[in-house]
């Protein structure tokens, strides 16, 4: 595997200040307040309050149907493409309400990238997959596109494996490579936040390990939220963990504390495998 580029340089390229002083408290990136969400008449999220600091990995855990994936999809408004949904409450990204009428959902999704549960590359070439985002956002220059594709593939630790066959169909890649390609595709639009919905659940242990290494590498350049069913995975990759149960946020804190000294009985029951 290649050495992904240093994250300070990633931040610098996006015109952001260099890595913050370790002592300074991290800025809040996403602030969720009293967020509720409905599919038709069925309420699936109940008054979620959550602050996600800038950079680092936050894991969202909880049993199936607890609302963690729905919650993830409220952060880039992907829930809107489903008919008959509505929400109340507020989600702020860098202090700006993302559900405000003035917010362009296209610009929002450019800043908040997403990686799905099953690898879903387009049946296009590897190059065209990664270039998809920049192209729809207006980049036509071939040299710049090539630079973006290389940089994104490097960051996704896939460059060395595919650099000689960028024109091949993405579907010819293995499942784990496809998922890293999808991560590269998401990185190509230069997002600040990366939402990952069980990104390794369809992969074998080796490919899962590669994805986890990658998430770990990306954590200092991006604000990452990852939904996972896998307790060990949450423990390995995340700094903070939020436990969801029946549409409510039960407990949120440093991963180490959630797994070793949970305050809530339900959290303890879940992380120790008593249910789920």
């Amino acid at each position: 595997m290649t050495q992904p580029q240093r994250d300070e340089s990633a931040a610098a390229r996006r015109g952001e200040p260099q890595a913050q002083q370790p002592t300074a408290p991290p800025r809040t990136k996403i602030e969720v307040e009293r967020l509720s969400f409905w599919y038709g008449d069925k309420q699936v999220l109940h008054e979620i309050d959550l602050r996600i600091p800038e950079r680092g990995v936050t894991a969202l855990i909880g049993p199936s149907g607890c609302g963690k994936s729905t919650f993830l999809r409220t952060l880039n408004r992907m829930n809107e493409i489903i008919e008959g949904t509505r929400h109340s409450g507020s989600v702020r990204l860098d202090g700006q309400e993302i559900y405000d009428r003035s917010v362009d959902v296209v610009a929002l999704r450019k800043r908040v990238g997403m990686v799905f549960q099953r690898p879903n590359p387009f049946p296009k070439s590897i190059f065209d997959n990664v270039a998809y985002g920049p192209r729809i956002h207006g980049e036509r220059n071939r040299r710049r596109l090539a630079e973006i594709v290389e940089r994104s593939l490097r960051r996704a630790a896939l460059w060395d494996e595919v650099k000689d066959r960028l024109g091949d169909s993405a579907l010819a890649l293995s499942g784990g490579q496809q998922q890293r390609l999808c991560i590269a595709r998401a990185l190509a639009t230069e997002p600040e936040v990366l939402l990952m919905d069980e990104p390794a659940s369809a992969l074998d242990p080796k490919a899962t390990g590669a994805i986890e290494d990658l998430i770990y590498e990306l954590r200092s350049g991006y604000t990452i939220l990852i939904v996972t069913h896998n307790m060990q995975q949450a423990a390995r990759v995340s700094e903070r963990t939020a436990f969801f149960y029946e549409g409510r946020l039960i407990e949120y804190g440093p991963t180490e504390q959630i797994f070793t000294r949970p305050r809530e009985q339900r959290t303890e029951d879940y992380v120790t495998g008593r249910f789920g």
Binding site: M78, V106, R109, N120, P121, F122, P123, G133, I136, T189
Partner: protein, 282 residues
Amino acid sequence: MTHRPWERAGTWLLRALTYAMAAGVVYVLGEIVVRGLPVIDLEFLTAAPREGGLAGGIFPAIVGTLWLVVGTALVSLPLGMGAAIYFSEYARDSRWSRWLRTGVITLAGIPSIVFGLFGLGLFVIFLGFGASVLAGSLTLAFMILPVIIVASEEALRTVPQAYREASLALGATRWQTIRHAVLPYALPGMLTGSILGIGRAAGETAPILFTVAAFYLPDLPSSVFDQVMALPYHLFILATQHPDPAARPMQYGTALVLVALVLGVNAVAIVARARFRRRYRS
């Protein structure tokens, strides 16, 4: 293998029915080929009819039908595919959209002669196109719109939702998503279904009866406002207006050319589908 007698009998019954159907098709096609082939020569394919269709060829009817096929395709493909894209990608599931969809499907059940009279009333008389390629193509296009819409929607539905989600999540607009992540994969299926519909239009008589078809017109059309002869109508005339037995071979010859043309159009669709499948499913 089952040993239950009724099950075996049922299998045989279904097999017999299938064979009977295939035999019917083979018989009809065989009859047309055997009787039509001797009539077809260079003159038949390249000359205008003489002596009221008893001699000469059917060239103007071939050209007329080709004009109508192209005209029908030009009108019906954008309209039909556009409507399918709307239904599949934009329309919310509302009472209004269900009504629209039902309306489209109902159109498929309307007899073609009704379309012919509708075309006469709307295009020929009310809009003043006269009997013309334009009026005939529009009428045929309206007739096959439901086929195109249903086939295209079907093709759009086979595109995985994951492509749409991936595209939208990258910040693509709805149209960009359709254009770059949906249409490229749906288009082969949409075109195949549509071409089959257009093939059907090529063989129709009733819709062109009042809207475009000329009884005898050796001149080729110079614009879409001209009338043309057409193969199905020429066949209809030969079959119904000629007591003279000399018309018989000409009927078979015309029928063979028409069938070949329609099958040719269908073959294009089938070959295209096979090629696209190979390209995208690998």
